[in-house]
Each structure stands twice: as C-alpha cells, then as structure tokens.
C-alpha cells in the first residue's frame, strides 16, 4: 500500500528499542539527509505531542518509478505498514483507494463486475483505465508536440526544396555544358537525383546521430533534475526509419523537381543566350 503523507514532522533520533521500518523516496532522503538505519519520528501534524508520535527506522530508500505523473510532484513519499498508517492518519480502517492484484489466469472483467455489484460508496476500475484517465494531459501535450513536429517538417520541406532549387540553379551553366556535350536529360536528372538521395541519407544519418546525442543529454539532465528513471526523449527504430524515409522522399523529390526544371530548359537558354 502506498500513500502520500502530505504533512508530517521529522526528528532524527538516536537508536533506542526496536522501532518498525519505513521506506522513503530518494528525493526525500536527499533533501532531509537521511540514510538507511536512521531513526525518525513520524506524526500526522507538526504540533503532535512527542509521546503520541511514532519512532521508526528508515529501512529502505526507494527510487521513484518511471511514472510521468510523479515527475512534477513536489511532495515526498513515505511507505509504511498499514497499521502504522492507520494510527498516524487517524482514519481507522478508512482508505482513499486500494489496489487488488489478480492472478494472470483470473477473469478481471468478471471480478470487476462482482466487486462493483456489491460495492457501496466506492467503485473499482481496471488499472489500465485509470492510467488512460491520468495520462490524458500527457496525450494532449503529446498531440501538441506532434503538431509542432508536423509544422516543422512542412516548413523544413519548403526550405529544403528552395535550397535544392537554388543549388541546382547555380549549376545551370555546368548542366548546359553537359547537355551540349551530349549528356541526355535523363542522365542529368538521374545524376542530380542520386546526389540528392545521397545527401538526404547522409543528412538523416547525421540528424540521427545528433538527435541521439541530444537525447542522451536531455535524459541525463532531466532524470537528475527530477530524480526519476523516466526517459524524456527516446529515439526508436520506427522514428529512425521514419526520419530516413522522410528525408529520402523530400531530398529525392526536391532534386527531381529542381533537375527536371533545368533539364527541360534548352542548353542555350541555360547559357543565357
């Protein structure tokens, strides 16, 4: 059982008797300079008299899970035994929520129906449904990021096309000379498209390497900042495949448009005569 205790008082004490153990999260341990074996006094409120507070020992320091919903949380997490929590919180046997683990072979849907059929004052949900509910914000943010990505790609594509047209345009006299020598339109277009394709592949490889390094730096920085194993930036094989494919399509397309435009122009016109 995991509960977040929002308000408590702590006093580091010298060992005495045999207190029970608690687990605290890494951020809390770092902030309060606690380590495994330290004794602390737990109470629900700072003004609780010392004789009614509970002395416990830090038994474990837990890393935060890779849960996006925990990343921005500023409060600390303390895990304790249920009876301890009941005493300190003063809720008796009341809880806000609890989880039921089922065996892999269990019919979860039927179990859920049975619980909700007899439930009074609470409702049971699948953990998957709760995760979807709590991750809606992230879905919105993710869609927002996707929209920015699409706008960036469209703008980059237009930019790439313009650059490619300009670069090929710079070669109009070279292309004119080639055409005068008897090099066919098809050969001119083919050579430029092959060059554009190679540049696109090299560019996407370079982009992937830069993206991978940036991703490492971003993860290193934010994992340290939020003390979480969560990955903030990931480069998956599908992203790599998409990037290379998109780069090839754009590069070859831009090369084709630019070269076809010049190849259609008579050589003398390319020479400006």
């Amino acid at each position: 059982m995991l509960l977040t205790v929002l308000s408590f008082a702590l006093l580091i004490q010298t060992p005495q008797g045999a207190p029970r153990t608690i687990a605290i999260d890494e951020a809390f341990a770092s902030q309060a300079h606690l380590k495994v074996g330290d004794r602390v006094t737990l109470s629900a409120r700072p003004d609780t008299p010392a004789d009614s507070a509970e002395v416990v020992i830090v038994g474990a320091i837990a890393r935060r899970g890779a849960d996006p919903s925990e990343v921005a949380r500023g409060d600390y997490v303390v895990r304790m035994h249920l009876d301890q929590l009941q005493r300190i919180a003063g809720y008796g046997d009341r809880v806000d929520r609890f989880a039921i683990a089922t065996r892999p072979s269990a019919d979860v849907g039927r179990t859920l129906e049975q619980i909700n059929h007899v439930a009074f004052g609470f409702r049971a949900y699948r953990s998957k449904d709760i995760a979807v509910e709590t991750s809606r914000t992230f879905q919105v943010v993710s869609r927002f990021h996707r929209a920015i990505g699409i706008i960036t790609i469209v703008a980059s594509s237009i930019f790439l096309l313009c650059i490619m047209v300009l670069k090929v345009e710079e070669r109009r006299r070279d292309i004119a000379a080639l055409r005068l020598m008897g090099i066919s339109r098809l050969s001119v277009v083919r050579s430029i498209v092959i060059e554009a394709g190679l540049v696109a592949v090299l560019g996407s490889v370079l982009g992937i390497v830069i993206g991978w390094v940036v991703s490492l730096v971003v993860n290193w920085h934010y994992q340290a900042l939020y003390r979480t194993p969560l990955y903030f930036s990931i480069i998956t094989p599908s992203i790599v495949a998409f990037a290379v494919a998109l780069s090839l399509v754009l590069g070859i397309g831009a090369g084709l448009v630019a070269s076809a435009r010049l190849a259609r122009t008579p050589p003398l016109a390319l020479f400006g005569r």
């Binding site: 005068l180 020598m181 090099i183």
Partner: protein, 242 residues
C-alpha cells in the same frame, strides 16, 4: 607537349585520306524574335568544311559567328536552309536525336571549361564515354591516353581546382575528344587566358588538326584565328570574306 600516340587516340586515328565535306550549310537563315522585333542573326549563309580542315570564324560581336557555331553544333536549328554534318541532315532533329548526335559526332570546347569540380581530370574525360556506354576498362584506358596526349599524363587524378587554367582547358579538350568526334568546335577557347596559356592552346589545336581532327573555332583572338588553315570573316549575319 607529349607527342600524340595516333594508334590509340580516336580523333588522331581518323586521319582523312580523301577530302570530303563534313560540314555543309546551304542558304541558312536564323531569325530570333526579340520582343516585337525580328533579329536576323544569319542571312543566307552557305559553307562547306572538309574533313581535316581547320577553320576559324572571326568578326565583330553580334555578327552571327556564335549562331553559326550553334547550328553546326546541333544545339540550334535554322529558320530556313539546310545543315548537314558528316553527311547527315541535322536541321530538323528532335532534342533526343540531336543530343545523341552531339555525343557521338561533335566535341565542344568552351571559353570556360565546365569541368565537374568533384571529379578528377580522368573522370571528367570519362564522362562523355560513360554516357556513350563505353565499357569502364576501355574508357579508363582511352581517357588516360587522351590526357597523356594533351600533356597531363601525370595529373590524371587531380581535381579541376588543383589544376591551372591552361591545364583545365587541356582537360576540357581531352574531354571533347573522348568519343572520337568527327568535328570539334571551340567557342573562344583562349578567352580570359593569359598569353602563355593561349599559346599552349593554339599549339595543341594545331597538333590536333595535324593529327586529323576537323576543327571550327570561333574567336576574337588573332593568333588563334591565324593558326587556322581557313579564316572566315563574318559581318551582319553574312560571310563577307574568306
């Protein structure tokens, strides 16, 4: 300059034995519409050039000499009249036919060299041969011999940026000879070159012609024009003196 190895260089091997017309223009007119005005660039030009000849065309700017060269080079078509190169009418060819004809029959040398900057001298010379589907081994051997012929045997693997202007022009000349053309055309080949480089090019052209290459050169350079066997003067779209 290295002496030519006639047995291995196509343009050199085709030494003519009989004098035959390779270029034949008959009453050629070329008009250009510029805005509402019609410019008569050529006005009834007739010209015969025999195999192995070396012709220079001179005249003031705008007299029609480049237009004439464009028609002989199959990169333009006359408004009227006929143009035949190596016995074949070329005045009404499609773009594809003209491109193929140029590849196999005509070598061009320009004022600027238009060498591919990323290719070595050898690869630049190989380029027209690759287009003509010459096997890799043969084009490599032929390109090496052509570079040897123009005196650049030791600089085959240099890129254009590593060569002087004169050397680049010699690579361009070797490239023009790559597919053993029946005719070589040059448009101001010594233009923008210093006197020494100009003299080298004139000597190379003389050598090429002596080895059998038919040449037509358009130039303002008196020395180059005087090096030719025939000197044609043009004015106002007509041949006025030869």
């Amino acid at each position: 300059m290295t002496a030519p190895s006639g047995a291995s260089v196509g343009a050199v091997r085709d030494v003519p034995t009989a004098r035959a017309s390779i270029v034949s223009l008959s009453d050629v007119h070329r008009d250009y519409p510029i805005g509402a005005e019609l410019v008569h660039a050529l006005r009834g030009v007739s010209l015969e050039v025999e195999r192995g000849d070396y012709v220079s065309i001179v005249g003031p700017s705008g007299c029609g000499k480049s237009t004439l060269l464009n028609l002989v080079g199959v990169i333009d078509q006359p408004t009227s009249g006929t143009v035949a190169i190596a016995g074949k009418r070329v005045d009404a060819m499609t773009d594809r036919e003209a491109t193929s004809f140029r590849l196999h029959n005509i070598g061009f040398v320009f004022q600027r060299f238009y060498l591919m900057p990323t290719l070595s001298a050898l690869e630049n010379v190989e380029l027209p041969m690759a287009e003509a589907k010459v096997s890799a081994r043969e084009r490599n051997a032929r390109a090496a011999k052509l570079l040897e012929y123009v005196g650049l045997g030791a600089r085959q693997h240099h890129r254009p940026s590593e060569l002087s202007g004169g050397e680049q022009q010699r690579v361009a000349i070797a490239r023009a000879l790559a597919n053993r053309p029946a005719l070589m055309l040059a448009d101001e080949p010594t233009g923008e070159r210093d006197a020494k480089t100009g003299a080298e090019i004139i000597a190379l052209f003389r050598q090429l012609n002596a080895d059998g290459t038919t040449m037509i050169v358009v130039t303002h350079d008196e020395d180059l024009a005087n090096a030719a066997r025939r000197k044609i003067h043009m004015r106002d779209g007509r041949i006025v003196q030869e």
